[in-house]
Chain length 335, copies 2
């Protein structure tokens, strides 16, 4: 399979290359694309050293699979060119996620939706991490209401976000005062920023509404009552989420635990007696989303459940999910 | 007024001394008590330099007001001795908070409850920060359900917690790997720990249940449906909370904003167009609790509201509230 990774020098792009290797994706040719700034750079990959290329819209490369870890603007401008040139495109940006004719896929939840599509959208990181835990609970107990508060790592803003956090922390620890900020709207070291993406007229941020819109689409529940508060926290690369659900049918922690224990893509981390619960420390670098702190929430009587999830934002929240989509596709090498 | 501060060398104790000075509390004599380890240390205070003493149960000091920032065990053992020796005691520990004959007070909410009591409990930090925003909303709209997710600073574990975070971050930034931990159950740098205080049989931590139990007592709503997920985050000294409420009567963001704008102890920080919202960066060192991100939550139809609060854990969450309790008391100097 001829595979192109676009945005190959970014945080998600690097993970895409690594995950393709780690999972043994049948790559026969790997091509890496990035901005002119990185062009010509030689990068080691599981498929040998590769030279970073600049994409030329006038002559799109011949690819079977194009994995896009670029801006929404770039995807909007070029994804369909790549499809026209023969590739199946998995796009990590928000450009096409809500378009009716573009499937939005978390393979553990709705792999079939990818069907014969040639352009497939990869969901928002917070949504992907949430959906793998929410979907099996919905199948068993029915979801009535979902309330999510997030704890999102700096990696959600890419390698630059992670670098700004590290540099800022060094500065604050050495000299006190406040760190400089450019990637984030405010300094992130020792701080929390309840503002990810732009504010919408309804007072929610776009990031928060993505969780609502995308979860509904992925789960096929267009009227699901779901809300989110999205907060950037000073961690490196795993997002956590505190989730409260009201179910249609009574739910117990034991029953929910049994459901999550056998859910694909979920690792139960729920042994409070031994201080085991989802944390960035344990979830980072892992494919599975950790789920734990499972308990009845009496606010919703016998239909209330609380749990906590943590997943690697760069893996299940981005690169892993994209490669899983590719694996689920009936891809054939183009002529 | 003869005032004693117990646990005077700890994070909260130091703030107590500072707040007494800043607010012009009528201190005629200030005595500082701490463990034998700190005994004899000379400390600068707004009331002149003082020598740290060790408390002698055999001869309790003559005080009008004793402010306790010590362990629950210490309070249980000695608070009543101090009362017997003539002091009114404001205890920052959890020792007496749920005892029927001990008022639990957030002055903006239930100052009258302190009445003629000689032993008054200061609430859990998360609860105090929450209550100043929740109480006025309850008075106006009626509370039906409250769902809270917290983002709690290292200061909640005292000066040692803050030090462990700073030392750990330095270590991780210099050498990579994981930081050492002793105060926290897991390393806190670049991590989140959904485990504060011990786990209860119902799966919630004691910290989470304190928010339920203490909010109900302070607000005089013994049956309030309220739940909490408490998470330690790598910040220094302000706690934040994402709050979703279902009200009895319809609520709009505009009406809620008007209520919170005039609520004592609350500072509205809700100008999203200018990226103003509650954050540790702006709430730290401030008396008022910041409230913002106020928006309708459609999960509860026209009775749903989301908001975000952030308050200095060492001030409104501890020292300030204790001094405000003292200010609200009809204290007279003992003979």
């Amino acid at each position: 399979m001829r595979v192109g990774v676009f945005g190959a020098t970014g945080a998600v792009g690097k993970e895409l290359v690594q995950v393709l290797g780690d999972r043994g994706y049948p790559v026969t040719e790997l091509r890496l694309f990035a901005s002119t700034r990185s062009a010509g750079t030689r990068l080691p990959t599981p498929f040998g050293e590769k030279t970073v290329e600049v994409y030329d819209p006038a002559s799109p490369p011949k690819l079977d699979l194009a994995l896009l870890a670029v801006s929404g603007e770039w995807s909007k401008a070029h994804a369909k060119e790549l499809v026209a040139a023969g590739a199946v495109v998995v796009d990590n940006s928000s450009a096409f996620r809500l378009e009716d004719d573009v499937p939005l896929v978390v393979p553990e939840v709705n792999a079939a939706a990818a069907g014969g599509a040639r352009l497939i959208a990869n969901p928002n990181c917070t949504t992907a991490i949430l959906a793998v835990a929410l979907a099996p609970l919905h199948r068993e107990f029915g979801l009535k209401r979902v309330i999510v508060s997030t704890y999102q790592a700096s990696s959600g803003a890419g390698a630059e976000g992670m670098q700004e956090l590290e540099d800022g922390l060094r500065e604050v620890l050495a000299n006190g005062g406040q760190a400089k900020n450019a990637v984030f709207r405010h300094p992130l070291p020792m701080n929390l920023i309840p503002h990810i993406d732009s504010f919408q007229p309804n007072g929610y941020t776009r990031e928060e509404m993505k969780v609502t819109w995308e979860t509904r689409k992925i789960m096929g529940l267009p009227d699901l009552l779901i809300s989110c508060t999205a907060v950037r926290v000073p961690t490196l690369r795993a997002h956590a989420e505190a989730v409260t659900i009201e179910t249609e049918r009574p739910v117990t922690p034991e029953a929910a635990r049994a459901v999550l224990a056998r859910a694909p893509g979920v690792k139960l981390a729920d042994d409070t007696a031994n201080a085991v619960y989802p944390m960035p420390l344990t979830a980072s670098g892992q494919y599975d989303v950790e789920a734990g702190r499972i308990r009845s929430n009496p606010v919703f009587g016998e239909c209330g459940l609380d749990f906590f999830v943590c997943g690697d934002q760069l893996l299940k929240g981005a690169a892993l999910n994209a490669v899983q989509i590719a694996e689920a596709l009936p891809l054939k090498m183009a002529a």
